[in-house]
Structure formats: structure tokens, C-alpha cells
Amino acid sequence: MYLYDDFDRTLVAERVSEFRDQVARRLSGELTEEEFKPLRLMNGVYLQLHAYMLRIAIPYGTLSSDQLRMLAHVARRYDRNYGHFTTRQNIQFNWIKLAELPDAMADLARAGMHGMQTSGNCVRNITTDQWAGVATDEIEDPRIWAELLRQLTTLHPEFSFLPRKFKIAVTAAAHDRAAVRVHDIGLRLHRNGAGEVGFEVIVGGGLGRTPFVGKTIKPFLPKRDLLSYVEAILRVYNQFGRRDNIYKARIKILVHELGAEAFAKEVEAEWQPIKNGALALDPAVIADIAARFRYPDYETLDDSPPALAKARATDRRFAAWLDNSVANHKVPGYAIVTLSLKPEDGPPGDATAKQMDAIADLADRYSFGEIRVGHEQNLVLPHVAQRDLPALWRALDTIGVATPNVGLVTDIISCPGLDYCSLANTRSIPVAQELTRRFRDLDLARDLGRLHINISGCINACGHHHVGHIGLLGVEKNGEEYFQVTIGGRADENAELGALLGPAVPYGEVADVVEDVVAAYLELRARPDEIFLETVKRVGVEPFKERVYATR
């Protein structure tokens, strides 16, 4: 966990006080909606179809058990007993009352939480690998850098009114779990030929109306230069980004239109004069930030304790969960546990207040009080002793978060869609629910292997459909809901945008179409362990298209 200091606490408390005054003035009519809207957006407050929605930042997806309990409290006291974890490692409450928002924010502030950087044209909550600090394939904890960037960008006066929102993600692992190549800035920590650790800087990725995979403009950036270089990128974007057309305002359009090389030159010119200034990172500053991340006092344990092997051998359900939801930890004797928020029939990413409280208690008991949120809308207990896995599994199973479907066909990423969102064209959640019913057979799901379905209810792509192995995009046609289907997308280190399968299909047929795509894959795959993406890469879109549209 990162330990906030008085500066952080004062900043959040002052923001609550300001917002309380702003809400009072809005309710009295002193502020018009036009005047109030930018103020509420700076605190993560949206107005959706049925109610106000509050989005709360979870910096780099790390939560303490006390923070999760506070989220449960907010769900219970101010909302309808549940929250929705988003694809940006945040949480949203869908039914919150404007008049009660200042009290909710004051409660959140007591746990060091707020809605800053979750809306508006600023640098948004910095995201990273949900396995940060514990993954076996990372070279160091990327959250140190995410925290430095958080401190740079929070309320940064120059970057509070950018042409459009701005998203940064950081990874330090060989396998990218943070989707850095589809962010405005993606940062990949890696080691160069001389053995030094620095950043590959990727710019101009993004999904939405005009999707792009980001371009590398700096293959290796020394650590000391991270803040100054990011500042230079933001300055170039702030100066040249389109403010005249919201659809062309993201940095990806600027990078695309200028070209990555020309954009990099602009950044270089902006960077050189500031490179050795106040933003050059002193090793002592880095060490201070790193020191504020406290790691558990791990016990000295052996991997694969006998009790675990015994439990695996005697309980088939436990064994299935172990194989699916538990990953290796960099400390011997420990494991990383993913909690699936994708039960059959459940809205993807939703957790009830009861579940949040229970997970917080389990985190205290089994994971040193720490929880992570992943962009796939699942939770993680990052420090579980392997000997505790059977007991933990039983507890997780009781509260419905032990479905062994992580990374499988029913581990669906989905936006809230038209059931909640004022921007949506179509519903997303019922489509996801129907797919969880169609693929409820876990043996089939395991046989299919890694297969990600991502669903967005509109072109804004909050459900990341472009990078779903199967992507579903809701569109409206003459007042009816339709879905465009793409296949072959991926968000990892080999990020690619999916290819369109063919004409959009009606809402009522979309689950049938996905079943057809999956059936085609089973027929086309070269061997049982050739995953869906590999098959698409090998045979192309056409055989899938033929299968889907032959009878439509």
C-alpha cells in the first residue's frame, strides 16, 4: 500500500469542502447547470439516465481493506447497495443523490478516496498492472511511477483543461496486463542493452470512435526523465490538439495527423529546455516515493505445501478454481488470487456492499489487507499464502466471486450500456448475461481456452470492444439495437484492433452469432491448444464470416 501524508489528506479534505459549497449553491439556484457541470465533473459526478453517478478514483487499482469497506459503506448509505468496477480500475455508484454527494465524499475522504481525475479534460487516474509488485514477470513495481505521475498531474494547472481527456497506463511486466498500447500515453518499463531500466514511451493509442494502437516515440527513456518527458508530451498536445472538434480532440488524432516522427520531434523540442529543470527526478525523490509503498512482511514459506496438493486432489471444484484463478507470486509460498466479478447471469464488474465487506475481511485475513482492481473488471487478492488457498476459496465461493472463468469466454468486459448510461445506443449488460448462460458449461469454456469478449454499448468504447478477441459494439439502426462484431483484437503487448466480421446483427441474434464464431473456431483450430486469437491470425476473418453469415 502507498501511505498518503498530510499534504494528500489536506488536498482531499479541501476539495470536499469546496464541493459542498458548490453543491449548496447549485441546489439554491445560485449556480446554473452550465456553471456547475464542469465543477461536478472535476469530482467525478455525472448525470446519467436515472440518477447522478459518482466515479471514484482507485489510483493504480490498489485498495486497502479499509478503503473497500468505505466503498461498501457508500454503496449502502448513499446508493443501492452495489457498485460497478470499471475498465479504468475505478468504481462507479449509479444512484447517488446530489444533495448527499458532499457527505459521501467526506466519508470517502476519511479513507483517502475522492473523485478527482475521474472525469473532465484532465489527466485521468493513472492505471497499471493489477499484479504490480507481485508478478513474477515484472522487473520492478510500476506503481512507483504511476504514483509519481499522479502527483505531477493531480490539479496540474496547465493540464486541467486539455483538449480532451488523457489516459496514462504503466506496465513493468513482459506480459502487458495494463493495455498500455491503447492509452494516450503507454509506459513500458524494460531493460536496455546496457542493463539499465527505463521506459518505452508509446503515444497516441486509444479506442473510441477512431481507434489506434499507440506508436513508440521513445524506445528508451531514462527514469530520471519520466516527468519532464511526459510534461513535454502534454504541452505539445495542449498546444496542438484539436479543440474545435470533440471527435478529433484526443492526442491519437494529433499523433496520427502529424505522424509519430514529427510528433516526437515536437516533443523533443519541448523537452530539451525542461529536461534538466525541476522535473528531473532526483534518485532521493524516487526512493522516497518507493519507500512509501509498504510491502507485507511475508513469511518464509515453501511453494506447493502438502495441504494444497491434498485439497486439489480431493475437490474437483477447488482444483478447477486453482488452475484458473490463482497465479504464481514472486515470493515463494504465496499466490495471486483473482476474484471473478463475472458470475453466471451477473452484470460484469458489479459487486454488492455485502461482497465488498466480505472481501475486505478476507483481504485482512489472507492478503495483508490489500485488494487490487483489474481493468478486466475483476478484483485481486495479491498476497495469499498458498496454504490458505482452500479456506479462502470456500469463503470466496460463498459470496459468489469464485467462478473459475478468469480469462475465459464468460469473463466478459462490458460497459454499463443503455441500462444506465446517457451516451449509450444499446444495452450491454443483458448481452453479457445471455452469453454467460450460453457458455455456462465450464468444461466447454476451459476447452475454448483464453477467449475475451468485450462489449460496448456505443462508439465511445468503454467496454474496449476493439481489443476484445471477440468485440461487440452496439449501434442503433432505425430505433433498433444492433451489434457490430469484430474478431482478432487484443490489448496486450501485441495489441491489435479487431477486424469487422460483417454487417451488424440484431440484438436478439448477437448471442447466436457469438456461438457461431466459437463453433467456427472449434472447427478451424489446428490443435486443442491453439487459442482463438491464433486461429484468427492463421486463417483470417473470412472463414468466420462465412460461418456467421451463411444462413443470415
Binding site: 447547470e33 448525470l47 436515472h50 454488492t352 459470496i399 441500462d419 446517457s422 451516451l423 449509450a424 448475461q433
Partner: protein, 105 residues
């Protein structure tokens, strides 16, 4: 369902004025006597652009609700009023899916 914010005031059938209540964001409808109601069947239903425009102008000046716009409705033979499209149906009746708390956990 195109966002109402992108709609032009083009009236091709019966419509109401709808908005979100300031205090809690709840969906409300404009009545003939210039108030907001939660009940669609108490809303003023009009069928011409001038009538809708007049209601909308008054609604926009009312600080009790936010983001007033014109929404289509269907009027049945018995006079009952129903939302005119899926978006408005969801606003009227709530999400088409059960809330996660309905699973009993």
C-alpha cells in the same frame, strides 16, 4: 437511441418534456400546469413544435430539473401514455436487468 442532446426539435408525433430532477437525478416529466412529475401519465402530451417549444422553454427555466428535452411517447386508444422508444422506456421503468443485489449476496 440517439442522445436527446443531439436531437433537433422535430415533432412527428406525440411528445412530452422530460428531464432529471435536480436533487437526485430522478426522471421527471413536465405537467401542463408547469410542474415536474414522476408519473408519465400526468405529463403534458403535445404534438406540435410550437407547443413543445413553449413547454420546453418554460421547463429549461425551471431550476427544479436538469437537461430538459423533448421525448417521444405513444398514446394508446384508452389515452394511456407509454415511452416512445427504448431509451425512454429504460428511463421510465429503470434498468432492464436485475440489480446485482437481487442475487441475494
Amino acid at each position: 437511441m440517439t442522445s436527446p442532446l443531439q436531437q433537433k426539435l422535430k415533432i412527428t408525433g406525440p411528445v412530452v418534456i422530460t428531464a432529471n430532477r435536480l436533487g437526485d437525478g430522478a426522471v421527471v416529466y413536465r405537467t401542463l400546469d408547469g410542474h415536474w412529475t414522476r408519473e408519465l401519465d400526468q405529463a403534458a402530451v403535445v404534438s406540435t413544435a410550437p407547443a413543445a417549444g413553449e413547454l420546453l422553454t418554460a421547463a429549461a427555466d425551471d431550476i427544479g430539473a436538469v437537461g430538459a428535452y423533448v421525448a417521444p411517447v405513444c398514446v394508446d386508444k384508452d389515452g394511456s401514455v407509454r415511452p416512445g422508444n427504448l431509451r425512454e422506456s429504460i428511463r421510465h421503468a429503470g434498468p432492464t436487468v436485475d440489480l446485482p443485489t437481487s442475487f441475494g449476496i
